[in-house]
C-alpha cells in the first residue's frame, strides 16, 4: 500500500468521524470539534492531491498547499466565531444546549420586529 493510499484512507476516516460527530453529537462544543476534524480530513485530501502532482514529474503541486492554507484560515475563523457565540450563550443562558424553545417575538425591542 503506497503512502498516498494510506493518507487517503486516513482522510476518509477523518471525514467520516467528523460527519458522524457533527450530526449525532448533541453538544455544540463537540460539534465544533467534529467540524474541525472533518475539515482536517478535507485538508489532508488536498495534501494528497498535491502529492499526486508530485508524481506527475512536478516537484510538488503548490496550488493545493495554497488552498489548504486558505482553508485553514477560514476554518479557524469559523471556529473562533462559533466559540464566541457559544461562550456568549453560556454566559446568558447558563447552558449550551441547541434545542431550546424557538425564539419568541422580541419583548423589549420597539423598533425591530
Amino acid at each position: 500500500m503506497s503512502a498516498v493510499t494510506v493518507f487517503g484512507l486516513c482522510a476518509a476516516a477523518a471525514v467520516g468521524l467528523g460527519l458522524y460527530g457533527l450530526i449525532a453529537n448533541p453538544q455544540p462544543l463537540r460539534k465544533i470539534i467534529a467540524f474541525n476534524l472533518l475539515g482536517s480530513g478535507v485538508f489532508l485530501l488536498f495534501g494528497i492531491v498535491g502529492r499526486r502532482g508530485a508524481a506527475a514529474a512536478f516537484g510538488n503541486d503548490p496550488v493545493p498547499q495554497a488552498l489548504v492554507i486558505t482553508g485553514v484560515v477560514v476554518a479557524f475563523s469559523a471556529t473562533a466565531l462559533a466559540i464566541a457565540l457559544l461562550l456568549r450563550l453560556f454566559q446568558i443562558a447558563g447552558s449550551t444546549t441547541l434545542d431550546g424553545p424557538a425564539p419568541a417575538s422580541p419583548p423589549s425591542d420597539p423598533s425591530g420586529g
Binding site: F35, L85, A102, P106, G112
Partner: protein
C-alpha cells in the same frame, strides 16, 4: 451549446469587478477606523459608489461581448485567479446594490446611534457592507475555491445578523445556523478537492472544457450540490431558517431572506450551468425540483398556520426558495445537456423578483411591528388605516410575488411555463400554478386581516419614520415593474415583455391564482377572520366546514412534520440522504 472559449486576458472595464469587491471592504475598514460615530456617513458614502459600479457593469457588459474579465496580478488561470462577469452576474450585482441601499435607508432610521444596545447599530452597518462585499465576490468569482471563500465570508457576515439583539434564543439560532452552514460548506470544499485532484484546476471556464462524467466528478457534484442546498435552506434542510428570522431585526431579515440565500443559490447555478454542463443530471435535476415542489407545499402550508406575520414571511421564503429550483429540469435541452437558456433566465428572474419583493415585505412587517408593538396576524385589524404606507408596501410586494403582470415573478412564471410546454414536463406546470396559488393564499390571508375595517382606532406604540416606509415601498414597486425592463441584453429572454400586458387573455392568468389562493387561505388558515360574524361568512363555513376541518387536520400534521424535520439529527441525516440520492441518480444515468 459549447462552452465559450476561455478568455485569458483582462478586458476593458474588468477593473470594475475588482472595485465591486474592494469598495465594500474598504468601507468596512474605514468604518472601523472612524468608529461608531461616523459609521453611517461611511456607509452612505459607499452606497452611491457601489450603485454606480453596478450600473457601470450593466452598461459596459453588452458592449464587451457579454463578458468582463479581470486577471488578478495578470496571472492567467489555472495558476492565477480570474474574476468574470456575465449577464447573470451583472443582474445579480445590480439587484444586490439596490436591495442593500434600500435596506440601508430603512435601517438608518431604525438603528439610531443612541439606541439602547450601543453596539448593535455599529455591527449592523459593518455586516451590511460585509454581506455586500461577499455577495459581489460570489457574483464575479471565476473559480470554485474563490467561491468557497466568498461563501464562508457571506456566512460569517450573516450569522451575527441573526443574534444582533443578543438574547439567548437568538444566540442559539445563530449557532445552529453557523454549524449547519459549516457542515454544508465543508461538503462543498470536499467536492472542490476531488475536482482539483481530477483536473488540476478549479477555474470554472477551464473546468467546463475538461469535465466529463467520471465517477469522481459525479461524487464531487453530489457533495457540492448538497452542501449548497444546506446553505440555501432548501426543504428538508431548512432547520436554521425559521428560528433565524424569528428574532432578527427587520433589516437583518430583509437581507437574510432577500440576498443571503441567493448567494449559495447562485454558486449552485454556476456549478451546474457553467462548470459542469455536460453531467448526466436530468434525473438529479428532477430530484432538485421535487425537493423544490416539496418546499413550496410544505413552506406554504406551514406559513398559513403561523401566528406571527414575520414567521409567515419567513416560511414563505422557504416556499419561494423551492420555486427557484423548478428551473433545473426545465433547462435540459434536446442534447440532454443543461442550456443557458430561457429556463435559467426564468429562475434567475424569480430570484431577483423574490429578493426585491421579500426584502420589501420584511421591511413593511418591521414597520407594522414598530407601530403596533406586536405582529400577530389576528391583531392586524384596522392597521391599514393606522399605517397605510406600510400595508401598501406589504401589499405591493405580495402582489409582485404572486406573479401579477407586469411583475418580475409573472415574467419568470411565463418563461418557465413555456419551457414546461417545450420539454413536455407538464407536471412542473402544475407545480408552478400551485405555487402561484399558495403565494396568493398567504398574501390574501394577511391583507384580509389588515384591511378589515375596525370600529375603534388602534393605539400605536410608536410610529415608523416616513423614510422606512418609502424604502420598502420603492423596493416593492421595483419588483412589480421588473417585467417591463429590457432583459434581452443580459438574459436569454425571447419573450416580448410588453406583449399581452393588458389584453383580455391576461384576465384568467390573474383570476386563477387569486381565486385558488383565496380558497386555500380559507381552507388552511386556522385563525378566525375579523368578519367571521357576518352572515355570508357563516354560510360559506357551513358549506365548506367538513372540507376545511379535513384540511386543517392535514396542515397540523404538516406542522408537526416540520418540527421533526427541524431537529438537528433529522436535518443532518436528510443532508446525507440528499447527497447519496443525487450521486445515485447521476451514476444510474451515466
Amino acid at each position: 451549446m459549447l462552452p465559450p472559449a476561455p478568455v485569458l486576458v483582462t478586458t476593458a472595464g474588468g477593473v470594475l469587478l475588482v472595485l465591486s469587491i474592494a469598495l465594500p471592504v474598504a468601507g468596512i475598514l474605514l468604518a472601523f477606523a472612524f468608529g461608531e460615530r461616523y459609521v453611517r456617513q461611511v456607509a452612505f458614502t459607499v452606497m452611491p459608489a457601489g450603485l454606480a459600479i453596478a450600473a457601470a457593469v450593466l452598461v459596459l457588459l453588452p458592449r464587451s461581448d457579454g463578458h468582463l474579465v479581470y486577471l488578478l496580478g495578470a496571472w492567467p488561470p489555472p495558476l492565477g485567479v480570474a474574476l468574470r462577469a456575465d449577464g447573470l452576474s451583472a443582474v445579480m450585482l445590480a439587484t444586490t446594490a439596490v436591495v442593500i441601499c434600500a435596506v440601508a435607508i430603512f435601517a438608518a432610521t431604525d438603528f439610531r446611534p443612541q439606541a439602547a444596545e450601543a453596539r448593535a447599530p455599529f455591527a449592523l452597518w459593518i455586516l451590511l457592507l460585509a454581506i455586500w462585499g461577499a455577495l459581489n465576490t460570489i457574483f464575479v468569482g471565476g473559480d470554485l475555491f474563490s467561491l468557497y471563500v466568498a461563501l464562508e465570508l457571506l456566512t460569517f457576515a450573516a450569522v451575527p445578523l441573526v443574534s444582533l439583539d443578543g438574547r439567548a434564543e437568538t444566540l442559539r439560532a445563530a449557532l445552529r445556523y453557523l454549524l449547519f452552514a459549516l457542515l454544508g460548506s465543508v461538503l462543498y470544499l470536499l467536492g472542490t478537492a476531488l475536482l482539483y485532484g481530477l483536473y488540476g484546476t478549479l477555474d470554472i471556464v477551464l473546468l467546463s472544457h475538461r469535465v466529463s462524467a467520471e465517477s469522481g466528478v459525479l461524487i464531487a457534484a453530489a457533495l457540492m450540490t448538497s452542501g449548497l442546498l444546506a446553505k440555501t435552506a432548501l426543504f428538508p434542510l431548512h432547520l436554521w431558517l425559521p428560528p433565524a428570522h424569528a428574532g432578527a431585526p427587520a433589516a437583518a431579515s430583509a437581507m437574510l431572506s432577500g440576498l443571503v440565500v441567493k448567494g449559495s443559490f447562485f454558486i449552485l447555478v454556476r456549478l451546474w450551468f457553467d462548470a459542469m454542463p455536460g453531467l448526466p443530471g436530468l434525473a438529479a435535476a428532477q430530484l432538485l425540483a421535487t425537493l423544490g415542489a416539496g418546499a413550496i407545499v410544505f413552506g406554504s402550508v406551514v406559513a398559513l398556520r403561523q401566528e406571527r406575520l414575520k414567521l409567515l414571511i419567513a416560511y414563505s421564503t422557504l416556499a419561494q426558495i423551492g420555486y427557484l429550483f423548478l428551473m433545473f429540469p426545465l433547462a435540459f435541452g434536446a442534447s440532454g445537456k443543461l442550456e443557458n437558456d430561457q429556463a435559467l433566465a426564468g429562475g434567475l428572474l424569480q430570484a431577483v423578483s423574490h429578493a426585491t419583493a421579500k426584502a420589501a415585505m420584511f421591511m413593511a412587517a418591521g414597520s407594522i411591528y414598530a407601530g403596533l408593538g406586536h405582529d400577530r396576524i389576528t391583531g392586524l385589524r384596522g392597521v391599514a388605516r393606522a399605517l397605510p404606507l406600510s400595508v401598501l408596501a406589504f401589499a405591493i410586494g405580495g402582489i409582485a410575488l404572486m406573479g401579477v403582470q407586469p411583475s418580475g415573478a409573472s415574467l419568470a412564471k411565463e418563461l418557465l411555463l413555456q419551457e414546461t410546454a417545450r420539454t413536455g414536463q407538464w407536471w412542473w406546470a402544475l407545480v408552478l400554478q400551485a405555487a402561484g396559488m399558495f403565494t396568493t393564499a398567504y398574501v390574501v390571508l394577511v391583507l384580509s386581516h389588515a384591511l378589515a375595517p375596525s370600529d375603534q382606532s388602534i393605539a400605536l406604540v410608536g410610529r415608523a419614520p416616513l423614510g422606512r416606509d418609502l424604502a420598502a415601498l420603492a423596493l416593492a414597486l421595483c419588483s412589480l415593474l421588473l417585467g417591463l425592463l429590457p432583459w434581452n441584453s443580459y438574459l436569454p429572454v425571447r419573450y416580448g415583455p410588453t406583449s399581452s400586458l393588458f389584453g383580455i387573455d391576461a384576465l384568467p392568468k390573474l383570476l386563477l391564482p387569486v381565486l385558488g389562493g383565496a380558497a386555500l387561505a380559507i381552507l388552511l388558515s386556522p385563525w378566525p377572520h375579523p368578519l367571521g360574524s357576518s352572515a355570508a361568512w357563516k354560510a360559506l363555513i357551513r358549506v365548506a366546514g367538513p372540507l376545511r376541518r379535513g384540511c386543517l387536520g392535514l396542515s397540523s400534521l404538516v406542522v408537526s412534520g416540520d418540527d421533526v424535520l427541524r431537529q438537528w439529527s433529522a436535518a443532518g441525516i436528510s443532508l446525507l440522504l440528499v447527497a447519496l440520492l443525487l450521486a445515485a441518480l447521476m451514476f444510474a444515468a451515466s
